[in-house]
């Protein structure tokens, strides 16, 4: 198994690495780049904790081989936090205590942001549906749904105020 060169963009920075073809993106982000905000919960694509954004689409980093990302644009919770893109979601999660242990939270926020970009005014049912690929064992989901709904309402209000 010969390591392969990999060049891709991670949170706006160009990264060049040699990686074993068998390694998944989640491990490379965590172990090679120190981006430990991407959490591994099951490593078989079910729990959603490792969700990141790859060329604008949310994917499971545990089901994505790192070598598949040649030339791609990867965004993790660290990048989305520093750019301020999800600051209102994070604030809503904090105010609503929509996280307890916090292990699912980065993936949950990445997924919630994906929903809000596609559907700015989702119903509670739509929020629940979209988040169903992200497991949370602590909250029971109610507070997460509240936080996402509050963020949507906040953005809509801001949008109409600006219009």
């Amino acid at each position: 198994m010969t390591p392969r060169p990999l060049s891709f963009m991670v949170n706006g920075e160009t990264v060049r690495l040699l990686v074993d073809p068998r390694r998944h993106l989640g491990d490379v982000l965590r172990e090679d780049l120190g981006l430990t905000g991407t959490h591994l919960g099951c490593e078989h694509g079910v729990c959603g904790a490792c969700t990141i954004r790859l060329d604008g689409e949310i994917v499971r980093s545990c089901l994505t081989l790192a070598v598949q990302c040649e030339g791609a644009r990867v965004e993790t919770i660290e990048g989305l936090s520093d750019s301020g893109e999800v600051a209102d979601l994070q604030e809503a999660f904090r105010n609503r205590n929509a996280l307890q242990c916090g292990y699912c939270t980065p993936g949950m926020i990445v997924t919630a942001q994906d929903l809000l970009l596609r559907h700015p005014e989702p119903t509670r049912e739509e929020i629940r549906e979209h988040l169903s690929g992200n497991y949370c064992r602590c909250t029971g989901y109610h507070a997460i749904v509240d936080a996402v709904a509050a963020t949507a309402a906040g953005r809509t209000a801001k949008g109409s105020a600006a219009a």
């Binding site: 079910v46 919770i77 979601l89 988040l131 169903s132 909250t139 029971g140």
Partner: protein, 799 residues
């Protein structure tokens, strides 16, 4: 303080109502921002120089003698540091036996960190491979050749005690780990004279915690210092320190346990796991850091499982609804060992202790038997025993009501212990200081709007849609004293300690022996200290999870962090305030008792007028002590410990309601809405309590409907992965309404009881009763969880 302490109720003015009090306010947790940004530090994130990664070779058989282990090929594999068998590891680590002396007769066999003679469940570690990376360790683990001789497997708990069943540990004589018989009143006479006796057999499937962060430990033995530093996602750092020191032959002072962010615990991370001890032993053996992070498949076969109870229940009832007797026969299978050090007999013990505990009924007989089997071990998981006791009790009460044609609400109104009957004792001998079953029931009915629900149910029924309403009241054990473990000889502290210290800028540093797993213990500690001492909460910093730097204590389990750790924080904050005020008094030439600290300022207690800021007191004390009067020695640090003494446990109570829809064609159950009223005494942070209740409810709904560790007759776990083991998803869960009654405990000044397990205690029972209400027209009753579509259809006779 001039205000007199008054803990009679939440509305009475008490010492908790200090100016700028944070008690009872929904203050956001200080550590959340970091966690939302992915900037937490979980044990799986910890990396140390020279760190090796361990992968365990695990038995594929449920019961097998280890004939030989061939390690040469693995040792030669790339990156491998060491391959270690159980026999080799036994040189640095002694075995243990998971028993407690107060559970009389409880027996178990010696357990090693890595199996030596035989493996006793599928997944037990039989060898360890340490390598430069986890991937290399896993590669090499596949090269370890283990020759097994398969042994007869004991899986069915119903036949575990039969004479023909093989004995898993022959030296123990049989497969009975423990049994308990409890009799109160005269159950035989009560059943004989009852108008009706109703029987049912209840089943509670094995399930597990599925913490989203798997178990993780990094052990770093520094041979230069002779010191072991362990980063571990645990609920009980001092317990782990004690256990590792004992079995690795180190003084406790040479073991430091650090617990950083923990990705979910729920009781899963309060135990001593063989592979975690093995990791520490490997670090000592190899004189370098070793990391173990369980993968998800390992989690399913080695994280403790819970429940797996079969309960035959009986209830006696009179035509007027009076309950005359309860009887249970509980059988539970715990795997091949009693877990160390808390044992695997506690859940059965709690089933005996809690069944019928909501009711005045004095006649009770309970038999509990705990048997060994070749499956993964079971042990304490959130709401230990509660869902079982609650489902049996409340299931039987509903069946009794149905038999005599009484409304489920009315039979509860008639039989719950009245709110004015306290203090009192249950038929199982549990001592209740003060509970609120009646108030909680009435509050729940208000919240549910039962009449409207009944109307909706009837309307739906006309359309052929089967909806059902269920309620279930429960008791919950919290704030345990030494009665849980200490009296049985386990070195698990029931007291907790908090140290508070004022720094040179007047900020407060708090070190608490309770731990944070996301429930908000650090936030509540900060609220309590900020209130007791008198500073804005932003000036309080809380540290937990470090045996070198916190007082000695039990940690977080059995809903104790707020009630016990919170009280220690309250007392420590008050003492520090007194210490600081005595110095301020000396500086201001005022009597300390006429001063107070409010919002970070020293003020006149009477008028609230500012006298001097705290940072000025600190500046003088730390940098110009020469200006203080002779004999004034500032002591800006205080420690207090707390443990409840009057009652062994602070019982709480509550009641839940469920509204469901059952599809009689597919067997699917849809949760339409869920309600809970609970009483945790003084509510320190309403939002955190509500979210503990909601999260707990969903951890009860999972096993009620989906979660089940399925084993075949060979002891093979059939669904040990997240795709096949179903946990609740957002789309399946209902909105959950939470309400409160507040009956503070008079034992502490704060009056707080636990809230973390209330949700889990009653959720399954409420849903089971709702499902049976929905299915009432079909004349069928479900009494086993999870209530899968298959079980629903079988009950309906459709498959």
């Amino acid at each position: 303080m001039s205000a007199k302490l008054d803990t009679t109720g939440p509305t009475g003015l008490s010492e908790l109502d200090r100016p700028n009090s944070y008690i009872g306010r929904s203050v956001p947790r200080p550590n959340l921002t970091r966690l939302t940004q992915g900037r937490g530090q979980y044990v799986s994130d910890v990396v140390l120089p020279r760190m090796g990664h361990v992968a365990f070779v695990r038995s594929p058989h449920a019961h097998a003698r280890i004939v030989s282990i061939e390690t040469a090929a693995a040792k030669a594999a790339p990156g491998v540091i060491a391959v270690v068998t159980g026999r080799e590891l036994a040189g640095v680590c002694t075995p243990w036996i998971g028993v407690l002396t107060h559970l009389k007769g409880l027996k178990s066999a010696p357990q090693h960190p890595i199996a030596i003679e035989k493996a006793s469940w599928q997944g037990e570690a039989v060898a360890a491979v340490v390598a430069q990376t986890r991937a290399q360790a896993e590669d090499a683990a596949e090269l370890v050749a283990v020759d097994y001789e398969e042994l007869p497997v004991v899986t069915d708990m119903e036949t575990a005690l039969d004479p023909g069943t093989p004995v898993i540990h022959p030296e123990l004589g049989d497969n009975l780990a423990w049994e308990r018989l409890h009799v109160a009143g005269d159950p035989d006479a009560a059943f004989a004279s009852a108008d009706h006796v109703i029987e049912a057999t209840f089943g509670f499937g094995r399930h597990t915690g599925v913490t989203l962060e798997p178990r993780a430990v990094v052990a770093d033995y520094n041979a230069g210092d002779g010191r072991l530093t362990v980063y571990q996602a645990t609920q009980a750092p001092h317990m782990i320190q004690n256990i590792l020191a004992k079995h690795l032959d180190l003084p406790e002072s040479q073991v430091r346990v650090l617990c950083k962010d923990v990705g979910g615990s729920f009781g899963i991370k309060v135990h001593v796991y063989a592979d975690e001890v093995a990791t520490a032993a490997l670090s000592k053996l190899l004189r370098r850091p070793v990391k173990f992070v369980a993968d998800r498949i390992e989690s399913f076969v080695t994280d403790i499982h819970a429940r797996d109870h079969r309960v035959k229940g009986r209830i006696g009832v009179m035509n007027d609804g009076t309950i005359t007797a309860f009887e249970i026969d509980d059988l539970t299978g715990i795997g091949p060992y009693s877990m160390y050090p808390r044992t695997s007999a506690i859940e059965a013990n709690q089933v005996v202790n809690f069944t019928g505990g909501q009711y005045t009924c004095p006649n009770y007989r309970a038999l509990a038997r705990v048997v060994f089997q070749n499956k993964n071990v079971t042990c304490q998981y959130r709401a230990v025993g509660h869902p079982i006791a609650c489902s049996v009790t409340e299931g039987l009460v509903d069946l009794a009501a149905r038999r005599i044609g009484m409304d489920p609400v009315e039979i509860r109104r008639k039989n719950v212990i009245p709110d004015d009957a306290y203090p009192c004792q249950s038929s199982a001998g549990m001592k209740f200081e003060r509970l609120s079953h009646q108030a909680a029931l009435e509050k729940l009915l208000d919240m549910m709007d039962l009449e409207a629900l009944r109307a909706d149910q009837a309307e739906a029924r006309r359309r052929g849609i089967h909806r059902g309403i269920g309620i279930a009241s429960f008791i919950e054990v919290t704030n345990p004293s030494a009665a849980f473990y200490g009296v049985g000889g386990a070195r698990i502290s029931s007291q907790d300690g908090v140290t508070v210290r004022m720094d040179a800028q007047g900020s407060i540093h708090v070190a608490s022996s309770v731990t944070e797993q996301g429930q908000g213990a650090e936030a509540v500690t900060a609220q309590v200290v900020a209130t007791a001492f008198g500073v804005p909460i932003e000036r309080v910093r809380v540290v937990t999870g470090d045996t070198d730097n916190t007082p000695y204590g039990g940690g977080t389990w059995a809903s104790r962090a707020a009630g016990i750790g919170g009280e220690a924080a309250w007392q420590a904050g008050k003492v520090l305030r007194g210490n600081v005020l005595s110095v301020a008094g000396a500086i201001l030439q005022a009597q300390a008792e006429n001063l107070d600290i409010r919002d970070g300022l020293v003020v006149d207690a009477e008028t609230g007028r500012e006298r001097m800021p705290l940072d000025e007191v600190a500046r003088i004390a730390y940098f110009r002590p020469d200006t203080l009067p002779p004999g004034v020695q500032p002591e800006f640090v205080a420690t207090r410990h707390y443990v409840p003494k009057r009652y062994p446990f602070a019982f709480t109570n509550g009641i839940q309601g469920s509204y469901v829809e059952v599809d009689a064609e597919t067997g699917f159950i849809k949760l339409l809405k869920h309600w809970c009223v609970e009483d945790c005494g003084t509510i320190l942070n309403p939002q955190l309590v509500d979210e503990q209740v909601r999260g707990g409810i969903v951890q009860g709904l999972g096993p009620a409907l989906y979660e089940h560790c399925l084993y075949d007759e060979h002891g093979q776990l059939l669904n040990g992965n997240m795709a096949d083991y179903l946990v609740p998803m957002a789309f399946e869960m209902p909105d959950i309404e939470v309400g409160h009654v507040s009956t503070p405990t008079g034992e502490s000044e704060l009056g707080a009881k636990g809230a973390g397990e209330a949700g889990t205690a009653g959720a399954a029972a409420a849903v089971m009763n709702a499902v049976n209400d929905a299915l009432a027209p079909f004349g069928v009753v479900l009494t086993s969880i999870p209530m899968t579509p298959e079980r629903v259809l079988r009950a309906l006779g459709r498959v």
